[in-house]
């Protein structure tokens, strides 16, 4: 089981801020494919991953990154702080 978090408009499209996901995915990319195949709202949110950023265990990383042993994966648009 892994915690999956969504922020900003990704959260709005998927409709929830956080969920627990049971998955065999070993990379972020594989996790995204699994989620997209679930429901239309996921397919929509992840339709263009180049517009998204991902953090694994609160560290920014690439979509090719491993999620084996990860506790938490978060998806969000590019940051706009400052």
């Amino acid at each position: 089981m892994i915690d999956v978090l969504y922020f900003a408009w990704v959260r709005e499209r998927i409709g929830i801020p956080k969920e627990q996901v049971s998955t065999n995915a070993t990379t972020v990319d594989e996790l995204v494919e699994e989620l997209k195949s679930r429901e239309e709202r996921y397919a929509l949110a992840f339709s263009d991953v180049s517009a998204l950023r991902v953090a694994v265990d609160q560290e920014l990383t690439e979509f090719s990154a491993s999620i084996e042993n990860a506790r938490e994966v978060a998806f969000f648009p590019p940051m706009t702080g400052g």
Binding site: F7, A8, Q58, M79, G82
Partner: protein, 150 residues
Amino acid sequence: MAVRVQDEPFDFGVEAEAFARGRTDAGAVVTFTGIVRDTDGTLDRMVIEHYPGMTERALQAINDEATERWALKDSLVIHRHGELRPGDMIMMVATASAHRVNAFEAAEFLMDYLKSRAPFWKQEFTADGSAWVASKTEDEDALTRWEKQK
């Protein structure tokens, strides 16, 4: 070398004064403050979402790197989340160094990284509805300046 992420307003004058006061080790103090703009008078409020836990880690990492690269005597990062109104202060950074070039560069570095690497997202509310602020290519591009230098 403090980092603070908070919902409450902060007092820029008090923070700036406390940061600079009585230093005899650092001749140069630079501050940057970001303020909610309302260029065309239509903004009702801004709401800033963040990623609790990761936000503090990201800011601390950026701050640590600035401290090391510019041999800062001190630094401060404050960033608000939650609801803000036009004219409200969103965030501030402050840097103290022996020399002005270091204080300026470190403050610019902190701002550039904070913009594109700290997990904050701004949403603007007007009478017409709400919209997420889009990230700017120039903000991402600003980071290359610091990579080349290293």
